[in-house]
């Protein structure tokens, strides 16, 4: 399903990029993003070089280029939306272009990282960096149950759609709110069960 493919950015593989230690990859990606952000706005050659480097790495990772580009396309509108604010300035044209270039490079870098690194590996690196355990636990739980809840929500939406004939706007708002509210009730019930399961497996806070 398309939604699932969008939800899980990781692509299985055994390339050099996949096998690098995740800490190194995360550090490298952060360094690359910092470099792009710090580069002067008119250093187009350097930007081009970084883009070429990222493209080479994408090819070396043997990930599906189509998938990578699709993800990039999906987040690009948000970038352009904010960049439009720059056009309000008297000399905004060049600023607008340079901002879009910079953000696109950073996005490409993050997309490449998530396509070649498992999210649990990234979390492991963060844990070793002494990020508070409560935060790591909740991010890990969210990552684990995000897919479950999205699927549950889709089931509820499908059930509602199959029972409504023609929907006006008010009905669709209250229907979506019903789905969201029930989803929260189910999530809190699931949280109770998850807690029991965690205790049974020896979890301690």
């Amino acid at each position: 399903m398309i939604r699932e493919r969008l939800l899980s950015p990781y692509q299985h593989g055994a390339s050099v990029l996949h096998r690098l230690p995740p800490g190194l990859k995360l550090g490298g990606a952060l360094a690359c993003i910092l470099l792009v952000v710090l580069l002067p706005r008119n250093a187009w050659g350097l930007h081009l070089a970084i883009a070429a480097g990222l493209a080479a790495m994408a090819i070396a990772s043997r990930a599906s280029i189509r998938q990578l580009l699709l993800r990039l396309l999906l987040v690009e509108p948000l970038v352009i939306g904010i960049a439009l604010l720059a056009l309000l300035r008297p000399d905004g044209g060049l600023l607008f272009l340079s901002m879009i270039t910079k953000s696109t490079l950073c996005l490409a870098c993050m997309i490449l990282l998530t396509a070649t690194t498992r999210f649990s590996d990234i979390l492991d690196v963060l844990r070793r960096l002494h990020v508070p355990a409560l935060l790591i636990t909740s991010v890990a739980l969210t990552h684990r149950f995000m897919f479950v809840l999205v699927e549950e929500m889709q089931r509820m939406l499908r059930a509602r759609r199959s029972r409504t004939f023609a929907e006006d706007r008010a009905a669709s708002w209250s229907g979506s709110a019903q789905v969201a509210g029930r989803l929260f009730v189910r999530a809190s019930e699931r949280a109770e069960r998850v807690y029991l399961a965690m205790c049974a497996r020896g979890w301690e806070r």
């Binding site: 993003i33 999906l74 935060l135 991010v139 969210t142 709110a177 969201a180 929260f184 807690y195």
Partner: protein, 352 residues
Amino acid sequence: MRRARGHPAQCGKQRVARLARRPIVCESLAFLIHVRTVHIPDGFIDLKTAAVTTALAVVGIAIALHDVRRRLPPRRVPLIGLAAAFVFAAQMLNFPVAAGTSGHLIGAVLVCVLLGPAAAVIVMTTVLVLQCLMFADGGVTALGANVLNLGVIAPTVGYPVYVALRRIGPPGLRTLLLAAGFAAWCSTLAAALACAVQLAASGTAPLNLALSAMGGVHMLIGLGEAVITMLVVAVVARARPELIDGIDSGPISHRALLAYGGLATLALLVFVVPVASSLPDGLEWVAGRLDFAQQTTTVQSAPLDGYSLDVAAASPGMGTVLAGLVGAAVAFAVAWLVARALTPANRSPAPR
């Protein structure tokens, strides 16, 4: 089902129609219209602003973590993770507005109402970190700013409004809904204004225009957020009344209140001063306050000197404040009307 190819133009039309029906196109359109203007990408925030916002966000998260550790029973810990997953899923729901556009939930005040403010800070932070690391939605260097706006400011501005309105009004579902709705509007606007200030401080857009553009748009978006929050709270309150205030049923601790108050004051200082100040360089005053004057003056002085678009600068203080007051009144009226519509008088009594 295969068909012979017809006239090229007709074929093109059919292809467009088929393309529009494909889920991927619908998905990307939904993303496009997704209310994510407050998710700042990389490259829009300069290093000084990033550092300041990250420091503020870390302080906010630390306060929240401290509060949660002290007050949250261990059996509620998984609920934080699942609530974040819930927010993530609920943000995908479409609420059709008009002409194919749709509104979406942000969820800060919703989680505040359901789990309490400290847990809401952790939940929203979790969602933002996940969106940033997994989906490249929101920049890595701007993560601090995004967490500050949506994770810290949105709940900490929304929660006092919510609590105050609930204390003032008569007990019952209607007051609960009105409080949640108006708080949701306030929190959306606060997050957007914070975002505008950060963008302006980074030299991305002139301050007055950024404030009025972001503020104006988010006054409308906030109305949608308010109505969605009220609808969802009403559903939960009817289905499982004990879930509302389930965690934070006790009185708020003074230390946490003081800490949030301090943070909120700091945040307000950043918002209100550039708006209310009649001086054109309100931003530089804030910049000096936050100790990154060197950077901003060099970046900011040029555009402000040659400032040609004087629409908002004509009477910056009064006009903006007036617009804010009118917006707040409208939002309150809308929240009240929706709360009335959702709680008919003959309905069974609500929680507390």
